[in-house]
């Protein structure tokens, strides 16, 4: 299945793009997507504990199950205002 991955702020800079498509096996979870990305971008690993993950606009844990076409957003602690 394909998911749409968005990354913001410092994580966007590590991934060198704000948006990409990710191929994952059926039944994959958010944590699987994280591991795949950390293999490609080792600079992500230090951010694992502070990273927040949203699935289709809602914050989720790494054990959340993914579906084909989902939009996953990775972002660091927020800094608005």
């Amino acid at each position: 299945m394909q998911i749409r991955l968005l990354a913001f702020a410092s994580l966007r800079e590590i991934l060198r793009s704000s948006e990409r498509s990710l191929s994952l096996p059926q039944g994959a979870r958010v944590g699987d997507a994280q591991r795949l990305l950390e293999e490609q971008f080792p600079g992500l690993a230090p951010h694992r504990s502070s990273m927040r993950i949203a699935r289709n606009g809602r914050l989720v844990d790494s054990d959340a199950t993914l579906c084909d076409g989902d939009e996953i957003a990775l972002f660091p602690p927020v800094g608005g205002g």
Binding site: L6, F8, A9, S10, R12, A54, G57, A73, F75, P76, P77, V78, G79, G80, G81
Partner: protein
């Protein structure tokens, strides 16, 4: 701003954006403008900020903050606009307004809205310093 109460705006926000909010019969309008400061928390000289947002989720959070404000403070209405892109010192990054029948609820709702925005809205800022460096900055609780 009245036609769309929750928005992400490209570039600095017009400080006169609240001009058309009042007039629905409420007795109180409290506004807050968040402005780019010239110093960082560590004292470094700041020349500007660059903001980015997960825009759809940010507007969803603004609406959720508005709904929670009504649960807490009664019949209040919020307006929230946040800038994205490059802002210079002195420009407006965020604008919050709250209307209510009386002032107490409007003050409380406005304070609640900016506090909640800073804590949970998916928006990020990069400080640009006078020495040419730049750094992403997460919020502390009382900025």
């Amino acid at each position: 701003m009245d036609s769309e109460r929750f928005s992400i705006v490209r570039g600095p926000i017009d400080p006169r954006c609240f001009e058309n909010i009042a007039g629905a019969g409420e007795g109180a309008l409290v506004t807050f403008l968040g402005i780019v400061r010239n110093t960082a928390h560590d004292g470094r000289a700041v020349v500007g900020l660059s903001y980015e947002a997960y825009e759809t989720m940010a507007c969803t959070e603004f609406k959720a903050i508005d709904a929670q404000a009504r649960e807490r403070f009664g019949d209040v209405r919020l307006w929230i606009a946040h800038a994205v892109g490059d802002l210079a010192v002195g420009e407006v990054a965020v604008a919050v307004a709250a209307t209510a029948e009386h002032r107490a609820a409007a003050f409380e709702a406005c304070r609640f809205a900016i506090d909640q925005l800073k804590e949970r809205a998916p928006i990020w800022k990069k400080e640009r310093y006078a020495d040419g460096n730049a750094q992403w900055r997460a919020n502390k609780t009382d900025e």
